[in-house]
């Protein structure tokens, strides 16, 4: 439970008209960032993220955002805007130069590498533009990869894998090699792989970038349907305004800022 003084501090700050981001700012500096997360429903909260690459201008210039449970958020921006960097940091694939990322009330800066690996394995799902399927392995092997990494036994893996393949309409392809699938089928398989560990958050990085318009619409519809029916948070990175418009909220990034 929170110490009384912290709760009082938050209430008095809010009463004084300080924004939540501002309160968090102050608390993050005091090492209390995680505590505040327990007060709200954010699945993920970023506080003043800055990312600097060596000898370059800032890729991220102080981004703060909060993402609610079950929400679908599109991060849009031109290439080089910093949207990919933001996604990588939110997905814990990269670390911010400064600032804090709080996931489920835990400050990621305080987590060990192994904790973060486990977090990604259990709480996150990924859909990539380039699929990253192992073409020589069966669809079942591909869709269950997160469970294999988790150390789930073969029997349970296959059972959950078949359920997942059914959900994405590929149950008849389970023994087929992933390399033999069409583009749309491949991305459906990737959606299955992203969802199989029952994650809280799915990151989709240009998921329709390699697909024709018909398949794009089908994939997007499937992602949103599964996301909504399962109450999963979706973070979609795209440069396509039409796709972004299908999400609950759009965050536009330009020159490392939210605009």
């Amino acid at each position: 439970m929170l110490p009384q003084e912290l709760i009082e501090y938050i209430h008095s700050s809010r009463a004084a008209g300080v924004t939540d981001a501002g309160i968090l700012h102050a608390l993050a500096d005091a090492g209390w960032a995680g505590a505040l997360m327990q007060l709200d429903d954010s699945v993920m909260r970023a506080v003043n993220l800055i990312k600097t690459y060596e000898g370059d201008t800032n890729a991220l210039n102080g981004v703060s955002l909060s993402i609610q449970r079950g929400e679908s958020v599109a991060i849009v921006g031109k290439s080089g805007s910093g949207k990919s960097t933001l996604m990588h940091i939110l997905a814990t694939l990269d670390k911010p130069t400064s600032g804090e990322l709080i996931i489920d009330g835990r400050a990621t800066s305080e987590l060990t590498r192994a904790d973060i690996d486990t977090l990604r394995n259990k709480k996150f799902g990924f859909v990539f533009q380039q699929f990253f399927l192992n073409g020589r392995n069966t669809c079942l092997d591909n869709v269950t990869l997160p469970l294999t990494i988790m150390g789930i036994s073969r029997g349970e893996r296959e059972q959950r894998g078949m359920e997942m393949l059914k959900a994405v309409g590929l149950e008849e392809k389970s023994k087929q090699r992933a390399g033999e699938l069409s583009g749309g089928q491949k991305q459906r398989l990737c959606i299955g792989r992203a969802l199989i560990s029952n994650p809280g958050v799915i990151f989709a990085d240009e998921p329709t970038g390699n697909l024709d318009s018909e398949n794009s619409a089908m994939i997007m519809a499937m992602v949103l349907e599964l996301q909504r029916s399962r109450g999963i948070t979706l973070i979609l990175v795209t440069h396509d305004a039409d796709l972004a418009a299908m999400c609950d909220r759009i965050i536009t990034i330009k020159d490392g800022h939210i605009v």
């Binding site: 694939l93 590498r113 690996d117 020589r136 997160p146 150390g151």
Partner: protein
Amino acid sequence: MKFKDILIISQKNLMRAKLRTLLTIGAVFIGVFAISLTNGLGSGIRSYVNRQLGNLGAENILIVQARQTFPNPVSQDVVEYDQNRQAGQFNVTFLGADDITKIRNIGGTKSITPQFDFRIEYIARDRNSKKYQASASQYVEGFRLEMAAGRLLTATEQNGITIPVRYVAPLGFSSAQDAIGKTVMLSYKDRSGLAQEREVFIAGVQEQSLVGNVDMTVPVALAEEIYRAQTDGASERYPALFVQLENAMADLEQVKQKFSDAGYDARTLEDQVGTIGTVINTILVVLNVFGAIALLAATFGIVNTLFMAVKERTSEIGLMKALGATRGTIFAIFSAEAASIGFWGSSLGIIASIIVGTIANRVATNTFLKNFVGFDLLAFPVLPFLGILAGGIILALIAGALPSLRASRLDPIQALRYE
């Protein structure tokens, strides 16, 4: 990730580049095959020698010689004359009657028999039949020889000898058994150079052996008789003395030390045969070094193969890391690949060496080892092979450590961008 899954994934990965995997396994195979075959050869020879040594008996007999000194060959010093010392570059110091007394005084000896230095010229069935070159040595009581037929000589033997089995046919006997008890003729030159003939009978026929006695043996009495005839008859110059110890259980090292303190060099027959072992070991070490060099080359092959695999599978590694695979998991997958290469290369190398060794044994025992009873050219005890197998796997793991580390440290974002 489960260990079993790591193994399955690594095997699948190895199968992706079949030829490359096969070639790398082949390199390990060659090294292990060489080492394994050498090891088999060493075990075969050693087990034979040991068995022969076990047959030698005579644990309580010491061969005592004067401590040999080798003068500086370029020395110009004038050395005092010693009647027991042969002149020349490699002068051998002989033992005399005074030495027998001296050794008896050391104590603990049961009997002291001089080694009579004699030479025979030939052996023949009788005066009119074909003559064969022959060398003979004095039989020392207590020494066991493997006999094809007949018996060993005894201490009081006068006219019996034993001959190696190879003389049976030339002397016109139908079998070793047939030779027993038959009379043959030994000939030697006496001190004035005249050929003397001596009738003896065959008491036993010796199996051929690589160690121990390969000559005919004659009893002490006969050796002395020829020695006296070949020298002035009163000379007491012996290259060695056979000293039988009273107590066979005596601490040999302590006894040897006592002789050494008195200025003698005492060895058991086993010590003497042991020098054969040293020669064999040296040859085996050289062969092993060749095998080790081949294995070293193979480890570079493993390093290369795994680095290529890491490069090829960069995006896959990136994906696995994105999906939460830890550094340890990635390291384990690549290490398992390295270990598998080591395992397959070593197992196949060992199996091939056993097959080749078995064939070589069959060929050898039917040809050039025909007369050496109980000699397998190669022996294959299990333990050293398990050692070689473990060694091959460990070597591969060490070779795989660097590529595995590189893979485990890949940045997932960079890896996913890699094409």
